[in-house]
């Protein structure tokens, strides 16, 4: 999720029957970020997200 959509993600998880679903959070916005900014976000997303995919 980008930071500005965290509350949307939390609500959608709840209404879809998965309250408390974990997700990685990266800086908003993506649409106007530089390439270096996108790389940083990708690293940050995987740092948080890889733990969620593993036991």
């Amino acid at each position: 999720m980008t930071t500005n959509f965290v509350s949307a993600a939390e609500l959608m998880a709840k209404v879809l029957g998965m309250p408390g679903y974990d997700f990685a959070i990266i800086d908003h916005p993506v649409s106007s970020a530089t390439d270096a900014g996108l790389r940083e976000r990708a690293i940050a997303a995987l740092k948080q997200g890889s733990a969620m995919l593993l036991r």
């Binding site: 980008t2 908003h28 916005p29 993506v30 649409s31 970020a33 996108l38 995919l53 593993l54």
Partner: protein, 93 residues
Amino acid sequence: MIFRVLDPTPEKTAPLGQKAPRLDTLRGKTVGFISNGKEGTKAFFAHMEDVLRKDYGVANVVLRAKPNYSAPAPAAIVGEIKSWDAVISGIGD
């Protein structure tokens, strides 16, 4: 005077879902991305793929973009998920 008034919201809530089993490792696995297709996502997922391969040893990466970023992923993409070991999606702009 007592007003007896009705609840305007749905009483029913969604049945609880269940998480897919987690993996032991990402090494050698196939990871699918479902992108919302918005501006910036192409380069973002390219970096994700690069980092997953180099730093996490992921073997295959599949990128799928939704044809309409405001709609749920179409059935064809959802159907592919079964053939991946893990899926990464997101919400953002």
